[in-house]
């Protein structure tokens, strides 16, 4: 077993230079790409997410860590053969109709991506039909919705309803989040999961898909 501690530390600190150097060094020493990603990069991002949930890290630090991970991935991408490294699952994400806020949603995307999920981001002000259409097209494992306003929250049950009508509800897990959203609300509208912040979104997504 190799020690990816230094790499993980560099990613957590958002130190791109050090992280890239560590990645290169590990590759030169013959490290397995999959192991490097899982135990180095993803492990680091998991810890970042956990610290973020506690308030020990904030958005800029989280973004820097995610960026650092992306830079390391650039080094690894050419070495990954088709089908060799698999994603943890497909997530379709968007801010609901009538709502233009996207920072929280973007953070969730980034953290999920950092944790090894494949993300399709529909952006903001996404009509329920758009969610349905894209769900049919890419067949995600999880549909994630964000709403920052209590006035736009009702677009969440509307979207779930649209998924149900299209016969897709059973094929996806629905995860919701955003400042006014609560666990109780998620239960009321029959969402499968609620994530209070970007860090917990990763944990929740894994739970939904039975990972770890």
């Amino acid at each position: 077993m190799r020690d990816f501690h230094l790499l993980a530390q560099a990613v957590m600190n958002g130190d791109i230079k050090a992280a890239v150097a560590q990645t290169q060094a590990a590759l030169d020493a013959g490290a397995d790409v999959q192991e490097l990603i899982d135990r180095g990069l993803i492990a680091a991002m998991d810890e970042v997410g956990e610290k973020f949930s506690k308030g020990l890290l904030f958005v800029p630090q989280m973004l820097r860590a995610a960026k650092t991970m992306q830079e390391c991935m650039k080094l690894l991408q050419p070495l990954i053969k088709e089908g060799e490294v698999t994603s943890k699952g497909k997530v379709l994400i968007g801010t609901v109709k009538g709502d233009l806020h996207d920072i929280g949603k973007n953070l969730v995307s980034m953290m999920l991506e950092g944790a090894g999920f494949a993300i399709t981001d529909l952006g903001v002000d996404v009509h329920p039909d758009k969610f349905v259409q894209k769900t049919q097209e890419i067949e995600p494992d999880i549909v994630a919705m964000s709403a920052l306003l209590s006035t736009t929250m009702p677009a969440m049950p509307a979207t779930i309803e649209a998924l149900t009508r299209a016969g897709l509800r059973d094929r996806v897990k629905v995860m919701i989040g955003g400042a006014p959203v609560t666990m109780k609300y998620a239960q009321e509208i029959n969402a499968d999961s609620y994530a209070p912040d970007a860090g917990s979104a990763v944990t929740e997504a894994k739970k939904l898909l039975g990972i770890d």
Binding site: F58, K97, D102, D125, L149, T151
Partner: protein, 658 residues
């Protein structure tokens, strides 16, 4: 029916223990509310919050009954069931033990006695900005009074009463009109005044004919209609002097403390527009009553009022449906400045009185901001570039001058008003409003000089500024022990498994015997709020093609703007790169702007021109705004490199002293 229910009421009052609900097929139970000893008949299963709202009882709730904010606390004196999960999260052990529950989570299933509010009544006053400043230029009030004597020869010609007045007043009143109400009283008043009286004029309309000496009784009102607070001013139309000022909380606050939650309430409850409108008008009439009493005037003495509020509140005032402002594309019913009969709105003034409602730019750039810009004078010159901030729930920013003027609304969230902060509160009695460090010891000042109940926006900003200076809050916003801070400050840190709280006031010091802490999450909330404002400022500067050094004047308006020290604001990075020396507080600039309109048609015209001229930059969909937002979340980004370092350094005496 009514009688029998009242009898029930009286009967029930004797013994609350008797199971009354069984007698009702409809299943009603009684809720006895102390200390007012209110008896409410409640449908079994309704929440306490529903019952209190229905009865118009004041209750704090920022989340609108979602069980998130934990502020709608009531003490249940009857036997009480186990708390819900949310209550266990939001209330502390001591509170749960004492029977404190959340009104929105507690259903009334049997007769209950509850206690709301504080047990011992201290004078509760609200710190609402009442004063503003601005010397009067271009006097030309919206209403004028002219002394007129109809010559005897005119009295004998076969002319109508109205035509006789017109003849004396030509040329500009050639086409003068008069309302039916005015005409009804005209013949009588002309003869009572022996054809020598004061004509009350609004544009080219005769509103009334008064006695000669009433020319000196010439007043108007302005209303600053805030989402949470209302301010009314009585102003002399002769010399512009503020005769009386009255403020109160907006009664609508029970239905959501911010615009969004109030719109939410409106959308979820059919037919509540009339109700919310009436609630507001009732408040304004109460304010009017108190203003008039202060100056010994009658409603009939007032012929004009000017109202300025955010777009949503102006809709409520006019009983227009603001629902569509709640979500993209944020469509208001109207944006033009309106002149309506005050009586049509329900205001108790002279029956012919006119109400001016300020123009707005959009759903989120309201008449209040137009008034603030008017008061800043930014639109009256083109030599200096002016930046203004109106810091409420939404942080409105404007930048420019007569050449180009732009504005944006940065969703700062309600942190500056104390919501979303664990022990946050609005600036009222008991709020810690300023903080400093003296000889290494933390000192704070409380509004009303009582034991602290919480911390308001200005206190929060100053606290974090002081802690940044001490190194206890890092530039990244982390609360942690500092080598450079005094032992007294470090000793205030409470370790909660690696996450620190900073103790501001201990349980012994505080009003409710619960410690007042700044939590790590509170710092994050402040970072979000100030990041949004700073990013809004940066985005506007980019649009204008200027940098911070090109801004000659910075104005802060709104409650926070008046009480927070410019240096603390600069220290936390609210004003990226701007020189604290260029910052001035405008006080209650919204009412100052409205007063300017009241006293001069010139400014009414200017307000309307301004609203048309103003460029609104929509931030939420902009990539650059989001980038700036992230950049300005850290406190470190706040160090302006072109300002001499000594100007930024806070003294040992902390941030609040000027």
């Amino acid at each position: 029916m009514k009688d029998s229910s009242e009898q029930q009421h009286v009967k029930k009052k004797r013994s609350i223990a008797a199971p009354a609900s069984r007698k009702y097929k409809t299943r009603y139970v009684w809720l006895n509310v102390l200390p007012d000893d209110l008896w409410l008949k409640v449908r079994q299963g309704d929440t306490i919050r529903d019952a209190l709202k229905k009865a118009d009882v004041e209750l704090e709730d920022e989340c609108g009954g979602l069980g998130k904010c934990g502020k709608c606390k009531v003490k249940i004196l009857s036997a009480v069931g186990p708390p819900s999960k949310q209550e266990m999260e939001l209330l502390d052990e001591e509170e749960l033990k004492q029977g404190v529950r959340l009104a929105c989570r507690t259903k009334v299933t049997k007769d209950l006695v509850i206690q709301i509010g504080e047990t011992d009544a201290t004078t509760d006053y609200y710190q609402i900005l009442k004063t503003g400043h601005r010397p009067l230029l271009h006097p030309n009030p919206l209403i004028s009074k002219r002394l007129i004597t109809l010559p005897p020869e005119l009295q004998h010609e076969g002319l109508s009463d109205l035509d006789r007045i017109k003849l004396v007043m030509v040329p500009e009143y050639q086409s003068m009109k008069a309302s039916l109400h005015c005409l009804r009283h005209l013949p009588d008043m002309l003869r009572k005044t022996e054809f020598s009286g004061a004509a009350v004029l609004h544009d080219s309309e005769l509103l009334a004919w008064q006695f000669w000496d009433e020319v000196n009784c010439h007043y108007g009102l302005v209303f600053d209609i805030g989402t949470s607070t209302l301010v009314g001013k009585l102003i002399s139309l002769i010399d512009g002097v503020e005769v009386a000022v009255v403020s109160c909380l907006n009664s609508q606050i029970k239905y959501g403390t911010n615009v969004i939650s109030r719109l939410q309430y409106l959308r979820q409850h059919a037919h509540t527009l009339d109700y919310l409108h009436n609630l507001l008008v009732r408040d304004l009439n109460r304010i009017t009553g108190r203003l008039l009493k202060a100056a010994d005037l009658e409603p009939d003495d007032i012929f004009v009022a000017v109202a300025a509020g955010n777009t949503t509140m102006q809709h409520f005032l006019l009983n227009l449906d603001p629902s569509a402002i709640a979500e993209a594309p944020f469509t208001p019913v109207f944006t033009d400045g309106l002149v309506v009969k005050a009586a049509e709105v329900g205001l108790t003034l002279h029956p012919e009185a006119v109400l001016y409602v300020m123009p707005t730019r959009s759903g989120y750039i309201g008449g209040d901001l137009i008034s603030v810009i008017l008061a800043s004078g930014a639109f009256e010159q083109e030599d200096e570039i002016v930046l203004g901030l109106d810091l409420g729930t939404n942080g409105e920013v404007f930048l420019g001058n007569r050449r180009r003027l732009m504005t944006c609304s940065a969703a700062a969230g309600p942190a500056f008003e104390g919501a979303t902060i664990s022990r946050g509160m609005i600036a009222r009695a008991g709020a810690i409003e300023s903080v400093r460090v003296e000889n290494g010891t933390l000192q704070y000042q409380v509004i009303g000089n009582i034991s602290p109940k919480g911390i308001c926006g200005s206190g929060l900003v100053e606290l974090v500024a002081v802690l940044l200076q001490a190194g206890i809050v890092t530039p990244e916003g982390l609360i942690h022990p500092s080598d450079t801070a005094s032992g007294e400050l470090n000793a205030r840190l409470i370790d909660r498994s690696g996450v620190y709280d900073f103790l501001v006031a201990s349980a012994e010091e505080s009003y409710d015997h619960r410690p007042i802490c700044l939590t790590q999450k509170d710092v994050r909330e402040l970072q979000l709020a100030k990041g949004a404002i700073a990013a809004g400022i940066r985005t506007l500067m980019d649009e204008m093609g200027i940098g911070p050094q090109d801004v000659q004047r910075v104005y802060l308006a709104g409650a926070l703007g008046n009480y927070v020290s410019p240096r603390s604001a600069a220290r936390i990075g609210l004003l990226p790169g701007l020189n604290p020396e260029s910052i001035t507080s405008l006080g209650n600039a919204a009412s100052t702007g409205a007063s300017m309109v009241l006293l001069s048609k010139y400014y009414w015209q200017m307000a309307n021109d301004l609203a048309d001229f103003l460029e609104h930059i929509e931030l939420s969909s902009r990539v650059d705004f989001n980038e700036y937002f992230v950049e300005h979340l850290d406190f470190s980004a706040s160090q302006p490199d072109w300002i001499p370092q000594e100007q930024l350094t806070l003294t040992e005496h902390g941030a609040s002293v000027e």
